[in-house]
């Protein structure tokens, strides 16, 4: 059965490794690269705790083989904050008490990040639908949804600032 060579970028850093084909992407990230921020909360692709971005889109890393990520760009929760500063989305989660135990949080943030990057002005209903694949047992979701809605304008400002345009 052997191993296969994979080469990908994770949080902007090129990575190369030999992996067994059966290695799930989430375990490659956690145990292979030591990026333990991505969590495993179920075994049926139900809970979304393992959500990462692949080529900018949210995916469940427990339902992908590491070999399927060969040649891709993966972003994990460790790659969201920049220069020691919380990303506006992370800050919104803190300001709106969008987390308690924190275990679903990386997956929630990544699902929301992928969503907001393509939907900069969401409604509450659309945010809830965007989270249909992410389960939380602590918060009752209200504050998670509030966090994401609060982050949207802040992220637009953030993106504008990055592009050298006056913030919105």
């Amino acid at each position: 059965m052997g191993t296969r060579r994979v080469s990908l970028r994770v949080n902007g850093v090129p990575q190369e490794a030999e992996v067994e084909p059966r290695t799930l992407l989430v375990y490659f990230l956690r145990e292979g690269l030591g990026l333990t921020g991505t969590k495993v909360g179920c075994d049926t692709s139900s809970c979304g705790s393992c959500t990462v971005l692949m080529d900018g889109e949210s995916v469940k890393s427990c339902t992908l083989l590491a070999v399927q990520a060969d040649g891709r760009e993966v972003t994990t929760i460790e790659g969201v904050a920049e220069g020691g500063e919380l990303h506006p989305l992370q800050r919104a989660f803190q300001e709106n008490h969008g987390l308690q135990c924190g275990f679903c949080t990386p997956g929630m943030v990544m699902a929301a990040l992928g969503y907001l990057q393509k939907n900069p002005t969401p409604s509450e209903e659309s945010v809830r639908l965007a989270l249909e694949g992410n389960l939380c047992r602590c918060t009752g979701y209200t504050n998670i949804v509030r966090s994401i809605l609060a982050a949207a304008p802040a992220m637009n400002g953030h993106a504008a600032a990055e592009a050298g345009v006056p913030g919105g």
Binding site: C47, L99, F103, T142, I144
Partner: protein, 793 residues
């Protein structure tokens, strides 16, 4: 230097836990790795009840990377005692012995029969599959009433019966006489389904054996590191003095991690045997079998009342499903609700009893609310049944039966002295927020126009008792542990503060709340305070976190320790300023001489001079630190009113939320943001219980809801926004006036939801409605009541 005057207590202070959790730097058990670490996997029974004929571990032992494969017999010599149950509720209770790995029989689907240890997670999975077990299947029993039948299969043959015990509250007043004479008697039967807790982090254990000293460090996803240290020493025979238990970041518990599990004992024993670090991480599907379930109680609830709805007596008799074994406090769970079946109402007579029964299913134990949701569900649904019976509005029936407002201990019908309460105030506020009268008008309009979507309104005015104490009372009800907690506060020479707490948070934000208490007490900046928890080597004294006890017990202990530090600092300040202690004013961390406010010392200054010890008053230690223990004189009794409005599609049976209002009273609030978060999350869990979740076994004891795909933990799409408000009635149990709030939402919500659906359907003649109110269940109820396939009234 004078500290800036700041008041953290009562403020919406953002959590100091969050920045690590939001950036992926929280370290949960599965995030830890040690050199030379090996992985344990557990071989589990696919049968609910079977005799173990043979266990052949040899095929696993021969596989690559496998370092051990052991059966229950192979491991028998490792145990100094069985897994603990610390609440033998009666003298004559029948207690089975519970070993970490089964030897003779398996008694529930998921019961452990062997373990394998290998050098990787994948190889351990492969090896577990290779173990060959020969079973002789036996008939299983899954229903609590069937389990008590004469010819029922016996879960534990040596006990001779599946009935373990009956515990009685003992009664208050003339129960039989009151029921016999009462003009109105309401009899209801409620099945409270088994629930799977679903903390988002499954359990996990990592044990590091010491290199030469015979010591062990165990990291476990547990709510109770302190209790684990004591009890696991007894199970494994490891000296308690050589066992350190650490609860690192823990991803939720809800009672499911308030337990001592086989896998903790197994990792300790295997680490001892192999002298290597051993790790076990629970799979979610494994969690559904091997981690405790909650509830599973059949409740017969009776109310005696006058014709106009005045409550006279309450009688509750329960049969509780213990599952196949006792876990830590399994037999005591219904007793946690034993004094609450009278709710917040006046009555003359009270009876409560419950019987614990073994079945071939996963053991039950504490799940958020534990006993109190069952009690609240029974009384609040029965109050609605009473209102319908006497033809009154459910709000009115509640109002006429409320205990009037009180601020000093006052007796409930059950005999407990509640600490404080104003039940009518919370109900009034909730009715106002809900727009109750408008909702009733809308309800009538829909009925009048024969709308297929009916509207229902449900009220739940709950009271609960949490922060179980004093310890002497716990002893009197045969609970083996105590109800106290402790805290230490140490002001370091540089003015920073270390706080050590006996509580063990797993999402509750103690680092933040505890810092608020200390920051205000010592006038020290919030960010200069570090809170240490969940490590028996660092905070050795404690009884951990569960039962909404942390603030009302551990938080109060912390306040006491903080006050002691201030007292000590005052002695030093008086000495240094050469005045009497009574001549000092204290405000926000600064002592100043009365009439000469410029002569002053701050707490950080005093911490430094205490450390220098150049000029200490006689008898004062060279530090500013203090410890305190608090064993409360009573419970705290949070209360509140939840009102829910639903729309029921009578054609499909689907229930949608229109409104959910919650007005809670948890006494003094330290951090309103965290309190609201607890309420909001608790309500979601209660709604999940009311509408979505149920562990379903077939008649052979096979768990059908075996994964998150068919055990329906709801998402953001399903859970409505609740409108929250508060009344504040300080507790008389503790100096801070605080009451627990961790479980209130889960206790209050299920009857609010069920009452709403029942209210919508009562014009169709529906009287029997059980949880969870799935669309199918609603459709069946309508069909049974009307003989039709649904549609408007």
């Amino acid at each position: 230097m004078v500290q800036a005057v700041q008041r953290y207590v009562g403020g919406r202070v953002l959590r100091k836990e969050d920045s690590r959790l939001l950036t992926g730097r929280g370290r949960y058990v599965d995030d830890l790795a040690l050199a030379g670490m090996v992985w344990m996997a557990v071989v589990r029974s696919p049968y609910a009840h079977a005799r173990i004929k043979a266990v052949d571990v040899a095929p696993a032992r021969d596989m690559p990377g496998v370092v051990a494969a052991l059966s229950g017999d192979d491991l028998a010599s490792e145990w100094a005692g069985p897994l603990p149950c610390v609440w033998p509720v009666t003298e004559d209770i029948k207690m089975p012995q519970h070993w970490p790995v089964a030897k003779d029989k398996v008694r529930y689907m998921g019961d452990a029969v062997a373990v394998v240890v290998a050098t990787s997670r994948a190889l351990a999975c492969d090896a577990a599959e290779a173990v060959q077990v020969e079973y002789e299947p036996l008939p299983a029993v899954t229903d609590v009433e069937a389990a008590m039948a004469e010819d029922a299969p016996l879960v534990h043959e040596d006990l001779g019966t599946n009935k373990s015990f009956t515990w009685s509250h003992g009664g208050v007043g003339d129960v039989e006489g009151t029921f016999a004479k009462a003009p109105v008697v309401v009899k209801e039967r409620y099945w409270h389904p088994r629930l799977i807790p679903n903390a988002m982090e499954p359990r996990g254990v990592l044990v590091q054996p010491g290199l030469s000293q015979g010591d062990f460090t165990m990291w476990s996803a547990t709510q109770i590191p302190h209790v684990a240290k004591v009890t696991l020493a007894m199970v494994t025979g490891i000296s308690e003095a050589k066992l350190r238990v650490v609860a690192p970041e823990v991803g939720g518990g809800f009672g499911s991690k308030l337990d001592i599990y086989a896998e903790e004992a197994l990792c300790l024993a295997l680490a001892r045997r192999l002298q290597r670090p051993v790790k076990w991480i629970e799979e979610r599907s494994e969690n559904y079998l091997a981690t405790i379930h909650g509830r599973g109680v059949l409740q017969d609830m009776e109310l005696a009342a006058t014709e106009d709805g005045k409550l006279l007596a309450i009688r509750a008799k329960l049969i509780a499903d213990m599952g196949a074994y006792f876990q830590l406090i399994t037999p005591g769970i219904p007793m946690l609700g034993a004094w609450l079946y009278g709710g917040c109402y006046k009555a003359d007579a009270y009876w409560f009893e419950y019987t614990g029964v073994f079945t071939n299913q996963t053991p039950t134990d504490a799940y958020r609310g534990a006993g109190r949701p069952e009690a609240t569900y029974a009384i609040e649904r029965a109050m609605d049944a009473l209102a319908r019976r006497v033809g009154k509005d459910p709000a009115e029936v509640r109002r006429m039966n409320f205990i009037p407002p009180f601020s000093e201990p006052t007796a409930l019908v059950t005999g407990l002295q509640a600490d404080s309460g104003d039940y009518e105030a919370t109900l009034d506020r909730a009715l106002e927020l809900a727009g109750y009268d408008e909702l009733r008008k809308e309800q009538k309009a829909r009925l009048d126009r024969k709308d297929a979507k009916l509207l229902g309104i449900g009220i739940s005015t709950y009271i609960e008792n949490c922060g179980w104490a004093p310890s002497s009372l716990l002893g009197a009800i045969r609970y083996a542990g105590g109800g106290w907690d402790s805290a230490s506060v140490r002001v370091l020479p540089t003015g920073k503060v270390e706080v050590f707490t006996g509580t063990s948070p797993h999402g509750q934000g103690h680092e933040t709340t505890w810092s608020q208490i200390v920051a205000d007490g010592l006038g020290i900046p919030f960010d200069d305070i570090e809170v240490f928890h969940g490590d028996t080597a660092v905070s050795p004294l404690g009884f951990d976190t569960y039962g909404s006890r942390s603030l009302a017990v551990g938080g109060v202990a912390l306040k006491m320790a903080t006050d002691k530090v201030v007292d000590k600092a005052r002695k030093l300040a008086a000495h240094e300023l050469e005045v009497a202690e009574v001549d000092l004013d204290y405000e926000s961390g600064r002592f100043s001489v009365k009439g000469a406010p410029k002569q002053a010392r701050s707490i950080p200054e005093l911490a430094f001079t205490a450390w220098q010890a150049h000029n200490l008053p006689p008898g004062l230690d060279p530090n500013l630190e203090a410890s305190a223990t608090f064993d409360p004189p009573n419970f705290t009794f949070p209360s509140g009113a939840h009102i829910c409005a639903v729309e029921v599609d009578t054609e499909t049976g689907k229930v949608d939320f229109l409104k959910y209002v919650a007005v809670d009273d948890c006494g003094t609030v330290i951090n309103p943001m965290i309190v609201d978060g607890q309420v909001q999350g608790g309500i979601a869990q209660g709604i999940a219980e009311a509408m979505y979740e149920e562990a379903i076994y077939d008649e052979n004891g096979i768990l059908l809801t075996s994964s998150m795909m068919n055990y329906l933990v709801p998402s953001a799409v399903e859970i409505p926004v609740a409108t929250l408000d508060r009344t504040v009635t300080p507790s008389s149990t503790n100096s801070m006036g605080v009451k627990g709030i961790g479980e209130a939402g889960t206790i209050a919500a299920p009857p609010a939801v069920l009452n709403a659906v029942a209210d919508a359907l009562s014009p169709l003649g529906v009287t029997d409605l059980q949880m969870p109110v799935s669309p199918q269940r609603v459709w069946h109820a309508i069909k049974n009541a009307t003989g039709r396939n649904g549609g408007p009234a």
